[in-house]
């Protein structure tokens, strides 16, 4: 019963974060800012949901299952790199940042 | 080994391809040639042994993986399939021998691809499972795509693009048809389908009909039946002739599939679906013959002409399929063997002629003469006489048999005039072609020195081994026609066929 509470909590937390990440993708004004949502919020949300799954399956007839950790690990390793590749291509495409952005001069020509 | 004979015509080419890709054949052209030729000959010998075995002992059913039909995939070696397998293997030998004279140097993987193609064709002939037919179709198609690019010029690229894309759409249609049939019949084995089709009830019948018709579309596309023939002339004439010669068997795969599925699954015993497309097929076949003949007349080079001859032969074959009787099927088989061998030989011949005529190649215009007029001329005459159905070569027996089997069908009044006028058109076209290729000179009285090389002995061996079939088909016409009649009888004996394939069936 407690586990169901834990699962529910993690699920809700994860769902919320994933949603916020995706919301950021819509709401923020320029590409560079939009990138923050998915690389962070979504990753955390995923981790949370995977923990929920782990707990859930640990209590089901399948017995302890920790392999969901792997997906989390994988996402943690890859998310920064995807973000890096994305921002690199955005810089290459000279996407406009909002006017408020400081330090645009620090970008070197690639 | 003898009990595994039925699977060998599929496994041997596969083995050949594997051997050819691995050391020591992978790197040494010489080794590759030797291995390829040996394996092609072994495949032929095994095919013939299988043919003899089936002739003596009746249908041989081979359950792959020891899972019997309808659950596993079974190979059905009956008189019909082993005949076509032997024909394919023969063609394979000729093509391999011909290519060793130099064509195999011009691109990568020629020999393995040839064996892969043979593997696909033999598989399509032997398998008794409809999805497995699909798989082998894809094997032979992908091999043919690659071989088509063996010419390595612009035209072949353009032709290949069209051929490949069209066939990919065809494969999609095949899968949809298969899905429909599985969705109503719940099985994939051809014999099992034949058992289940008569039991269909209500609207299921029409769903099955849609599936069956879609398969027919695919087979018609492979066979190049009007109006799905449009790809053929361009494809075949832009392939290297040695490849085109091998392709001569490919339309026959479509014809075979049509014959098999149409006769067994939707044949006499299919209840409401019996002979569901007969009138359409009949009309389209006749139209195909006409269009093919027009193409033959229009052709401006020998390869194009030969390609259109293939279309004519497809029309003829499908017309016979649509008659759905034993005699027509027997005639079909005879004609199929004859036309395949002869068109293949003509493709090879067009290559030799091109080689010796210099710039004009095989175009049907005045130009330089060939270096070896007697040799090539004789071969050309033999091929021509066969192809237009003039005695004393195999074409005339095919022609008479076809006329005879259509005579009492009630359709003769449409078919005969078309067929005979087509023969005439072919005669006009071929005599025109021969005159242009061998006789007409661009410059009058020019005795320009022909510096072209003489034909390679292997070229000649390959062509002659194919052309020799034509007189042999006449000389041994009696046993051969008996075989064809038996094969036709076996095919039309649907319940017998089902009994052989499925234990406890019917």
């Amino acid at each position: 019963m407690i586990s169901e509470w834990i699962v529910s909590a993690f699920l809700l937390f994860g769902g919320l974060f994933i949603f916020i990440g995706s919301l950021g993708l819509i709401k923020l004004p320029d590409f560079y800012m939009r990138l923050h949502g998915p690389t962070k919020a979504t990753t955390l949300g995923m981790a949370s949901i995977l923990i929920a799954a782990m707990v859930f399956f640990a209590n089901s007839e399948h017995g302890l299952s920790v392999k969901e950790i792997l997906i989390t690990v994988f996402l943690l390793i890859t998310a920064p790199i995807s973000g890096y590749m994305l921002i690199k291509s955005a810089l290459h495409h000279k996407l406009n940042a909002t006017e408020e952005t400081k330090g645009l001069d620090k970008i070197e020509k690639d | 080994m003898i009990e595994h004979l039925a699977v060998l015509p599929i496994l041997l080419p596969m083995l050949a391809a594997v051997i050819l890709l691995l050391p020591p054949c992978g790197k040494s052209l010489f080794m590759r040639r030797i291995a390829s030729a040996i394996m092609a000959v072994i495949t032929l010998v095994v095919s013939i042994v299988l043919l003899v075995q089936v002739t003596n002992n009746g249908i041989s059913v081979y359950a792959i993986g020891n899972w019997s039909a309808p659950f596993g995939i079974v190979l059905v070696a009956d008189l019909l399939s082993v005949l076509l397998v032997s024909l394919t293997s023969l063609l394979g030998v000729a093509v391999v021998i011909y290519s060793i004279a130099g064509d195999d140097k011009k691109g990568n993987f020629f020999h393995p691809l040839v064996h892969f193609l043979i593997l696909g064709v033999n598989g399509a002939f032997l398998t008794g499972d409809l999805f497995n037919v699909f798989v082998f179709f894809e094997v032979l198609l992908i091999a043919s795509y690659s071989l088509l690019m063996h010419a390595g010029d612009k035209h072949s690229t353009r032709a290949a693009l069209q051929y490949v894309i069209l066939n990919l759409v065809g494969s999609s249609v095949f899968l949809i048809g298969l899905g429909i049939l599985y969705g109503v019949l719940g099985t994939l084995n051809i014999a099992d389908m034949a058992q289940k089709v008569p039991q269909l009830q209500g609207d299921d019948i029409y769903i099955a009909k849609a599936g069956g018709l879609l398969l027919l579309v695919v087979f018609a596309l492979k066979a190049a039946l009007l109006p799905l023939h449009l790809w053929l002339a361009n494809t075949y004439s832009n392939a290297k002739p040695v490849v085109a010669a091998l392709f001569a068997i490919m339309t026959k795969v479509g014809v075979y599939a049509m014959l098999r599925v149409y006769t067994v699954v939707f044949g006499d015993e299919a209840g409401e679906l019996a002979h569901m497309a007969q009138p359409w097929l009949w009309g389209l076949a006749i139209a195909t013959i006409i269009v093919g003949a027009i193409g033959v007349l229009a052709a401006q080079d020998l390869r194009k002409l030969t390609s259109n001859l293939v279309i004519v032969s497809v029309g003829t074959l499908v017309a016979l399929i649509s008659l759905q009787n034993e005699e027509a099927t027997a005639a079909l088989l005879y004609y199929l063997v004859h036309s395949t061998v002869v068109t293949a030989a003509l493709f090879l011949l067009s290559d030799l002629i091109s080689l010796q005529r210099g710039k004009v190649a095989d175009r049907l215009t005045a130009g330089r003469g060939v270096k070896q007029p007697f040799l090539l001329g004789t071969c050309f005459i033999i091929a021509t006489l066969s192809v237009i159905g003039m005695p004393p070569l195999s074409g005339f027996i095919g022609k008479i048999w076809i006329l005879k089997s259509t005579l009492n069908s009630g359709q003769a009044m449409f078919f005969w005039p078309v067929y005979l006028l087509t023969s005439l058109a072919l005669l006009v076209a071929m005599s025109r072609a021969g005159a242009s290729l061998f006789w007409e000179r661009r410059h009058k009285n020019s005795n320009e020195l022909n510096d072209a090389p003489n034909a390679h002995p292997l070229h000649i061996i390959a062509i002659i081994s194919l052309l020799a079939c034509s007189p042999l088909l006449v000389i041994f016409a009696q046993p051969i026609s008996d075989y064809m009649q038996n094969a036709a009888h076996q095919l039309h004996d649907i319940s017998g066929g089902i009994k052989a394939v499925i234990k406890g069936g019917l």
């Binding site: - | 595994h4 496994l11 596969m14 659950f71 094997v139 029409y206 008479i400």
Partner: protein, 930 residues
């Protein structure tokens, strides 16, 4: 048996002469003569029996399936023709020895001539209609070879083609006719057919069959209006003309009429068709012959005219007419062959055949002239020569004919006119060539021909005279035997004698002679009249018809096969629509009886994304990159659908394939234009849209129809046997590696071939590497971003571990060799992307070709391994072992098979991508191993 030897001998002769190319001309001729002489002897040996009324037969079955037997018969008609064929053949061979110049290959000519002789013998001896047709066609072929003997001359080529076409067409008609007749009678046996007159003539198809047979006969015998090929066939060497185009081949048509006379003749339609055709040909040929300046042209038209005469006789409704026809066949053969040979000598000696140049030959060639004049007189029907006798009989029969009813009087009148014309052209032949002043501009000065060149003419001319004077003694035997064979009954009474007293036929002959001389003397008015008529050149007309036909074909074909792939696809789709759509309309109700599942939110979202993704792909298709991104959503949603509907293996496969495809498309995008310009007209868009959506609706309908019906399938078996028979709990995988392992073997073969093919396609490709992207931006300089490079190095082992995991569990849980292989490949692709080809090639010395081959090989050998246990190919083996420490473990051959799959997939995928990568790599240090 000896019957068989007759054609066989001449065939052997043909082969022998073709082998004598290196011998002297005399030796060649001598060797060639052996066969026909022996054949003649055999024929003569059989002659007494035949003359006594016997019919000899010899039959061997050959191809019963098509009614073809090797069946020979020898009756009077055959005998007559055989004597002509062999006799004149022998003379022609002798003559040709001197006629053919040293540059030409006489061996070839002889070989063709003997082949032709075989064919003719075959025709006249056939006792099976298919066999008859077979030899009939052989005459067309051998005559084609003979006419085109001087193939370097355009005249010869064109004449040969035309002759082949016309007689070939006739041959086809004949075949059809014969097969119809045989079908009516129920036998291909000539004896049976000839005995079934009533049966044939009462059949509904009698007229059709008759017309077809007559077409065959008329084309071969150059009957009007199919006569036009014959004059052009004169491009052949003169011995050929003498043999084929006067004595034998053209008579094959006549022979056919005579042969089938007992079965087909006797009806009104026979008389009208045959009689009128003969009459028209008789008149037309005689008239045209008069105006020919070419000697051979004159003889050609005269031949046409005489063939018409014989045909007319066969078309007259009296028995005696048939006898007259046979008689004239003999006579015409003798005088016409000798005339051709004489012409050959003139041509040979003077270098021309133009009668406007040839004058006064009497002085140069007195001996030849004498022979020719006798023969020409026979042709004109001068008494004491054979032509007179048959012409007299002809006139007699025209008088008794009632073919035209009340207008039957026209026949004798027209026959007389034709007779007069025939006298006129014969007169011209004699007067214009041998007299009429001096020759003009002859290429050569003529001398008498060699002795042996004249012998054949002498023989024939002597025959003309002998028959003319002692007809009964010389020809009656064979004439009556032949006539009996034609009529199929006892002969009417007739007398072969020179003098029948003063009667109407004699008067007609007299009128003809006088009229003929008169016409010849006033020829210049006729020539003027003829010249005012529009010229009608059959050859040009024929060639124009063929040319038009070819052009028409070319225009049509290029309109149909215009090279547009989209048109081909549209055609295919329309056919698909018809085939799949039509049965839908026959259905009562689309939905079946199975209970439906409700739509839940997940499915709705997934379906929505799928649909919008698909539509977005279409909408953005001109911006290819975006379109590709949209497509990957569709792919993702398809794999989600597979997870949703209980197919984890499919989901995994779809995912991996989808990523590999996207990567591939991305690679392609680099080498292809980035954008698709707008070029479709609105109409085309409309067309495309309607076709696409109709097909979509049809497929969806069928899909719905299937989904709403219950299914009974063979699958229960797989579920029941997967564990016990296949040793795995993942039924899909067990199907793949066991129940239907053969499919999988084929599938990896496809993949392997594709990789090899791709390598092949990319080799020697003209490199095309754009330096800017679609919007004109230069590419980034950073080739291998640092972070990506280092992280991918760590990901590779991880990915390999995952693929090992997926591979090993496949038999029991979702996974398997294919998915594992793709995961491995994609991990390697990541290395390629992160480090580039050069870097990889430096570190990774693996030959993809070998990997593919080993993969397929492993799968193949695993399958063959079962042979060792006497089981069929691909029979799997598995067992459970209790291994210390580890416990109960399953070992299965399926895993080895799956390893083959794995290797093939890895090899193929990497080969594909590496070849693509190598293609653009300009700094590749070493060539990628294939």
């Amino acid at each position: 048996m000896t019957l068989l030897w007759i054609p066989l001998l001449s065939l052997i002769g043909s082969v022998i002469s073709s082998c004598t190319a290196k011998l002297s001309r005399n030796a060649t001729a001598t060797l060639t003569l052996i066969a026909p002489l022996i054949a003649l002897a055999i024929t003569a040996y059989h002659a007494p029996a035949v003359l006594a009324g016997e019919t000899l037969r010899y039959t061997v079955t050959w191809v019963p399936a098509i009614g073809l037997d090797l069946s020979f018969r020898l009756d009077g008609l055959s005998l007559l023709f055989m004597f002509m064929i062999l006799g004149i053949g022998t003379l022609v061979i002798l003559y040709a020895r001197f006629y053919v110049s040293a540059q030409d290959s006489i061996a070839k000519l002889y070989s063709y001539l003997m082949l032709f002789m075989t064919a003719m013998l075959g025709i006249v001896m056939s006792n099976n209609v298919i066999q008859l047709w077979l030899f009939w066609e052989l005459t067309s072929i051998s005559s084609f070879l003979l006419i085109s003997f001087w193939w370097h001359k355009s005249e010869a080529r064109r004449g040969a083609k035309m002759a082949l076409t016309v007689t070939g067409a006739g041959g086809l008609a004949l075949l059809a006719g014969l097969m119809i007749i045989a079908n009516i009678v129920g036998s291909y046996d000539l004896d049976t057919i000839l005995a079934s007159k009533e049966l044939i003539q009462s059949d509904a198809l009698y007229e059709v069959a008759l017309v077809l047979v007559l077409l065959g006969a008329f084309t071969k015998s150059a009957q009007f209006p199919f006569h036009f090929w014959l004059p052009h066939a004169m491009a052949a060497p003169t011995p050929v003309s003498a043999y084929l185009h006067s004595a034998t081949m053209v008579k094959a048509g006549i022979f056919l009429l005579a042969r089938f006379y007992p079965a087909l003749a006797g009806t009104d339609i026979w008389f009208i068709l045959v009689g009128l055709t003969g009459l028209a040909t008789l008149l037309f040929g005689a008239y045209v012959a008069l105006f020919k300046h070419d000697l051979k042209g004159l003889l050609a038209y005269s031949t046409i005219s005489h063939l018409g005469l014989i045909t007319l006789l066969l078309g007259l409704d009296t028995d005696l007419a048939a006898v007259a026809a046979i008689f004239h066949i003999i006579n015409h053969a003798t005088f016409k062959a000798s005339l051709f040979m004489a012409t050959g000598i003139i041509d040979h000696e003077t270098g021309t055949r133009d009668m406007r140049k040839l004058n006064g030959m009497w002085r140069y060639l007195p001996y030849t002239a004498t022979l020719a004049m006798v023969a020409a007189a026979a042709m004109a029907g001068v008494p004491l020569l054979n032509g007179f006798l048959s012409k007299e009989m002809f006139f007699t029969e025209t008088l008794s004919s009632e073919v035209l009813g009340s207008m039957s009087w026209l026949i004798p009148v027209l026959a007389t006119i034709a007779g007069a014309l025939s006298v006129a052209y014969s007169a011209r032949f004699i007067h214009d060539v041998f007299f009429n002043g001096d020759p003009i501009d002859l290429p050569r000065t003529p001398h008498e021909a060699p002795r042996f060149m004249r012998v054949p003419i002498e023989v024939l001319v002597v025959l003309c005279i002998l028959v003319g004077i002692f007809p009964h003694f010389v020809v009656n035997g064979i004439l009556s035997a032949a006539s009996m064979a034609v009529l199929g009954k006892d002969l009417p009474e007739y007398h072969l004698s020179i003098w029948h007293g003063f009667n109407l036929p004699l008067l007609m002959s007299a009128i003809a002679v006088v009229g003929g001389v008169f016409i010849y003397m006033n020829r210049k008015y006729l020539f003027k009249f003829q010249a005012s008529l529009p010229p009608l050149n059959a050859k040009k007309l024929f060639e124009r018809v063929v040319y038009r036909l070819v052009q028409w074909s070319q225009v049509n074909i290029s309109n149909i096969e215009n090279g547009s792939l989209q048109r081909y696809i549209v055609v295919l789709l329309v056919v698909v629509l018809l085939c799949a759509g039509w049965p839908l309309f026959e259905m009562q109700k689309l939905a079946g009886s199975a209970p439906l599942a409700p739509i839940d939110i997940h499915n709705a979202i997934g379906a929505g994304l799928l649909i919008i993704g698909a539509i977005a792909t279409v909408i953005w298709h001109r911006s290819r990159m975006v379109s590709l991104l949209m497509l990957s959503i569709v792919g993702l949603m398809v794999s989600v659908a597979f997870t949703r509907f209980s197919a984890p293996d499919l989901a995994l496969t779809q995912l991996t394939v989808e990523v590999a495809t996207v990567i591939l498309l991305m690679l392609a995008l680099y080498f292809l234009p980035q954008h698709t310009p707008k070029e479709s007209s609105s109409l085309r868009v409309l067309r495309d849209l309607s076709i696409a959506s109709t097909v979509g609706v049809v497929v969806a309908s069928i899909c719905y129809a299937l989904l709403t019906r219950p299914l009974e399938s063979i699958s229960e078996f797989f579920i029941a046997n997967a564990k016990t028979g296949g040793g795995g709990t993942n039924v899909v995988n067990v199907i793949l590696v066991d129940f239907r392992g053969f499919d999988t073997l084929g599938e990896i073969t496809v993949l392997g071939i594709a990789a090899l093919g791709i390598y092949k396609v990319l080799s020697n490709i003209p490199i095309f590497s754009p330096t800017k992207d679609g919007e004109g931006r230069e590419w980034a300089k950073d080739k291998h971003p640092v972070l990506l490079a280092s992280i991918s190095q760590s990901l590779l082992p991880l990915a390999l571990l995952v693929s090992a995991y997926i591979f090993l569990r496949g038999h029991n849980l979702p996974g398997g060799g294919f998915i594992a292989g793709l995961v491995t490949s994609i991990a390697f692709i990541l290395q390629y992307m992160a480090h580039g080809t050069t870097w990889i090639n430096e570190r990774f010395d693996v030959n993809y070709r070998k990997i593919i081959a080993s993969g397929i090989g492993i799968a193949l050998f695993t399958g063959m391994g079962s042979w060792l246990f006497d089981r069929p190919f691909l029979t799997t083996w598995f067992d459970y072992f209790a291994i210390p420490l580890i416990g109960k473990t399953e070992l299965a051959s399926a895993i080895v098979f799956d390893l083959g799959v794995y290797l093939t997939v890895v090899g193929a995928t990497l080969m594909i991508l590496a070849s693509l990568g190598n293609m653009s790599g300009t700094t590749v240090s070493k060539e990628v191993k294939i």
